[in-house]
């Protein structure tokens, strides 16, 4: 047990836990004022329900047993948790992984803004976190996972978290349909400073998300931290340059969105790349994710706060280009990508891993959402959507004069 490694992983667990409130403010500022509490509540509630489910069952499915696809119940209720090769207490590993399980379903709320019944949302994330997230996490993070074994690299969850949540968001939106008035009624963000507070917390917490995944205070963690910051910086610049060219202005929301896109893209690569790679991966992600904003218009899907463009596309971009930029000599772990003499084998594995998680999550999420929609209904009643989730779901209003 190394106290230095433990100190960093404990701090990282706290940092990742802080990201879910950060995500709540990031999304909360972007919705209309009559829906801000609905959005904050959905994210805060995930910290409650998903944490309990993860302790009772989720951790065990992801890290219990030796099966490549689904875990067993050995670690249910976190009883006598054990995990090979750790220099930190098992509970520190449990805590760190728990915070990942919490934020992943919360990411979906951006796409389904303003129109989910709270009870149905709660039921969805309960099922989703056990049936979709836990297995996907196993495949990618757990050395026994079948994607891990195939040689696919994912340092901090590009696939299991961002591609997974991004495609699930698309699936749920396909089930519940668009916001009423989408396309003709203007729905600009109600409080961009609140979104900036969320951006600051997400960027701050992401150091724990990526550099904490080294599970120790070592050179890999240091390189991952630098990679994370440089990718966010380069992606901000990439997004702003394209935005300036297309619309004539670099926007504050654009700078924040670009930074988050960079953070998403570097997530799978953080501990496997070095040198100028984070600048290229980040810059590329900023440009690609901005252009991906059009996808939802093409698909005629009201992905309200662009979870597809930022998380699905950002996650896919990062996971796949890792097959090009991976450089084992940068941190001493991982493998070599195409540009570093590794041939295209890793690239192929990355595409397979991304595709596998994407297809599994698309199908499973669609089925879960459809099942709930057909039974108790996921979408709020028109009158409830008109007065806003704050009032209809929580009998509150966010602001008083």
């Amino acid at each position: 047990m190394d106290t230095g490694d433990t100190a960093w992983v404990l701090a990282a667990a706290a940092l990742v836990a802080f990201m879910t409130p950060g995500l709540a403010f990031f999304y909360g500022g972007m919705v209309r004022s009559k829906n801000v509490l609905g959005m904050l509540m959905q994210n805060l509630f995930a910290m409650g329900l998903v944490s309990v489910l993860w302790a009772v069952l989720g951790f065990s499915i992801a890290f219990g047993g030796t099966n490549g696809w689904v875990g067993n119940f050995d670690f249910a209720f976190l009883t006598d948790v054990d995990y090979a090769g750790l220099t930190i207490p098992p509970m520190a590993f449990v805590a760190f992984q728990m915070m990942f399980a919490v934020i992943t379903p919360a990411l979906i709320t951006g796409a389904t803004a303003d129109r989910l019944k709270f009870g149905s949302y709660a039921l969805f994330i309960a099922i989703w976190s056990i049936v979709v997230y836990a297995p996907a996490a196993r495949w990618v993070f757990n050395p026994a996972g079948w994607l891990f074994k195939r040689g696919a690299l994912d340092f901090a969850g590009g696939t299991a978290i961002h591609i997974n949540a991004g495609i699930a968001a698309l699936a749920v939106v396909a089930v519940i349909g668009n916001r009423r008035g989408h396309g003709d009624e203007a729905m600009p963000p109600h409080n961009l400073p609140l979104t900036m507070i969320g951006t600051g917390i997400l960027w701050f917490g992401w150091f724990g998300f990526n550099a904490g995944s080294a599970l120790g205070a070592n050179g890999i963690a240091a390189q991952a931290l630098v990679n994370t910051h440089l990718a966010a910086a380069a992606a901000m610049l990439g997004w702003l340059v394209v935005e300036k060219l297309v619309t004539g202005h670099g926007t504050t929301l654009g700078a924040a969105s670009g930074a988050v896109a960079g953070l998403v893209a570097i997530t799978p690569c953080a501990g496997f790349v070095g040198g100028a790679s984070p600048l290229i991966i980040g810059g590329g992600a900023g440009i690609v994710c901005y252009l991906a904003l059009r996808i939802k218009t093409v698909l005629r899907l009201d992905d309200s706060l662009d979870v597809i463009a930022v998380h699905l596309v950002g996650g896919l971009f990062g996971s796949i280009v890792l097959g090009l930029f991976a450089d084992a000599s940068a941190t001493g772990v991982g493998a070599d990508g195409l540009f570093f003499g590794g041939g295209s084998e890793l690239l192929f594995d990355q595409i397979v891993a991304s595709g596998a998680v994407l297809v599994f999550s698309l199908v499973a999420s669609y089925v879960i959402a459809l099942a709930i929609e057909k039974t108790i209904g996921m979408r709020v009643e028109p009158e409830d959507e008109y007065v806003g989730l704050d009032r209809s779901q929580h009998a509150e209003s966010a602001y008083q004069p």
């Binding site: 203007a186 008109y386 007065v387 009032r391 009998a395 509150e396 209003s397």
Partner: protein
């Protein structure tokens, strides 16, 4: 000249503005208000304490128009702002003795 004051549902503002623009109305002044009428309020609960909120968010338009246009303004708003559900709002018209455009000092219809 007449002052037409209309209290309508907030999400109808853009439609009403476009309709008035199309009808040739040159200017509108709009304020955020809260209304209380037949449309009942709702209760909000904070830490178990229930609050009866009677006021509903509305938007209040003020349009100064020529006598000739007054009825057109009223009819345009009534047509566009109505949803048929309770709380659609009210319009009232008052007589205006004098109108001045601050920039030029023009008065009367030239000021509109």
């Amino acid at each position: 000249m007449k002052l037409i004051t209309a209290v309508i549902k907030p999400f109808k503002l853009d439609d009403v503005k476009d309709a008035l623009k199309a009808a040739g109305i040159a200017g509108i002044t709009v304020g955020e208000v809260r209304g209380f009428g037949r449309q009942g309020g709702h209760t909000e609960t904070y830490r178990g304490a229930e609050y009866q909120i009677d006021f509903v968010p509305k938007v209040c338009l003020q349009i100064v128009a020529d006598d000739a246009q007054a009825d057109l303004v009223v009819d345009t708003i009534t047509a566009t702002a109505a949803t048929g559900k309770i709380g659609d709002g009210k319009i009232w018209v008052t007589d205006v003795e004098r109108v001045v455009r601050i920039r030029t000092g023009e008065e009367g219809t030239d000021a509109l």
